[in-house]
């Protein structure tokens, strides 16, 4: 579904991505893991066309995404920081995105809005909301149009335990429907029962792309957190 070939990106002197080659297919749920500044967010932004790679190509359904924009109607994206115009209400933001995506109300997936009980505060203005509530709005927007691909950048950062549990339930439900899910997170323990594959980035290089079973077998750990810790330690030694 998504094919990245030789993707490189430099920000000034910093090499953010070095020759990344990746294939992600339908039905996979992939954890993007790596230390801070390893290029996870940059890679995600390349997929979304927000950052243009210096070299290499990214294909979506076999079509190069350079200078394209229609393909993004098949992607739901939840950014790391969700900020919205101060004087817009939650309802207005939701309506605006519906206008952009030209979907009528019946075709949208509003489960999360109900689960987070946002429907009660639909007319509150964005500047009155707490960081966590804004994060909930971001999450709802990502799932709203039932996209084929979900890209979640640190989805549970800033959410309370109840909300992050609800979000994880939703992610599981969507995974069952056979969609492609990409998640970055530093809270590895919560990824355990969500993801089926792991992509590990370091200094902009792709270190490995394995499925969970293989990774656990290779490292001899049965938890993702333990496995990744082992990988990080072994790369440090070298």
């Amino acid at each position: 579904m998504i094919n990245a070939a030789h993707v490189s990106k430099k920000f000034g002197k910093l090499q953010a991505l070095r020759d990344i080659n990746l294939t992600c297919s339908k039905g996979q749920s992939i954890a993007l893991i790596g230390p801070n500044g390893s290029g996870k967010t940059t890679f995600i932004k390349c997929l979304l066309g927000m950052v243009v790679p210096d070299s290499g190509t990214i294909q979506f359904h076999g079509k190069n995404i350079a200078n394209e924009w229609e393909y993004r109607s098949k992607i739901g994206y939840m950014p790391q920081i969700g900020r919205f115009p101060d004087n817009m209400t939650i309802a207005q933001v939701v309506d605006m995105l519906k206008d952009i995506r030209k979907k009528d109300a019946s075709a949208t997936d509003e489960d999360l809005i109900h689960a987070f009980q946002l429907d009660r505060i639909m007319n509150k203005r964005m500047h009155t909301l707490s960081g966590g509530t804004r994060q909930k709005v971001s999450a709802c927007l990502a799932f709203l149009f039932g996209p084929e691909v979900l890209i979640l950048d640190e989805p549970t950062a800033g959410l309370d335990p109840l909300a992050s549990e609800l979000l994880k339930d939703k992610i599981r439900a969507v995974r069952e429907k056979g969609k492609l899910i990409l998640i970055t997170s530093h809270v590895l323990s919560e990824l355990d029962d969500i993801v089926s594959e792991v992509i590990y980035l370091e200094d902009g290089c792709l270190k490995f792309h394995k499925n969970m079973e293989q990774l656990k077998l290779d490292t001899g750990e049965d938890r993702l957190a333990g496995a990744i810790a082992r990988v990080m330690r072994s790369t440090e030694k070298r």
Binding site: L48, G49, M50, V51, V52, W69, I100
Partner: protein
Amino acid sequence: MKIIKYIISDIIRNKIMLAYTVLLLAISLSVFNLEDNKAKGLLSLMSVILIVVPLVSIIFATIYIYNSAEFIELLVSQPLKRTRLLLSVYSGLAISLLLAFLIGSGIPVLIYSPSIVGGVLIAVGMGLTLVFASLAILASVLAREKAKGMGIAILLWFYFSLIYDGIVLFILFQFSDYPLEKASIVFSSLNPIDLGRVVILLKMDVSAMMGYTGAVFKEFFGGNWGSIYSGGIILAWIVAPLYLSVRRFNRKDL
């Protein structure tokens, strides 16, 4: 273009926008109530509008775009063309600023001095609003940091309001032995604020006080062709920064 109405409804609830409208309204009303002579009132209003409108337009628009940075990122991740997105943001800002200007200054002028001069004054104010909102888009697309972008915006305003006139005066004095009437027309075209001032003053029939240059200006700008020419120049001042911004924005990493 679907997002314009949401942007407008966001901006018109902004407190700075409300303050701008009230300020213009207060200035306009006091100018017309303090002066018995309507023409004098318009002249004073012109001086204020030529300073305040460009300043507020460029500063407000720049701040708004930087404050919406994350939101613009979210919109870029949606199925929208970047060109369209940026033009929608510009339109939203421009329409809101125009609305504030028309309520603050347009209505008082219409009530107290419904004349051709008043009409030209309003047209110039609207033109300058559009020009400086466009320059604000350029400033905020060029600089990633808010402080830098604000610096560029303030410097642009400073340049067009003060520095440019200083430079022109310097040149006029240095080369006062030569005929510079034609050159002054070029000079005034290179600064939208100056152009606006010239156009309004010529309509006020005070060009007689500007000497020989005034006569040349009158001949050049006075007729229909002059109006078309100045309209075209203002349009160029709106379109050129927008065109550069769109080109830059389409390749920008967010």
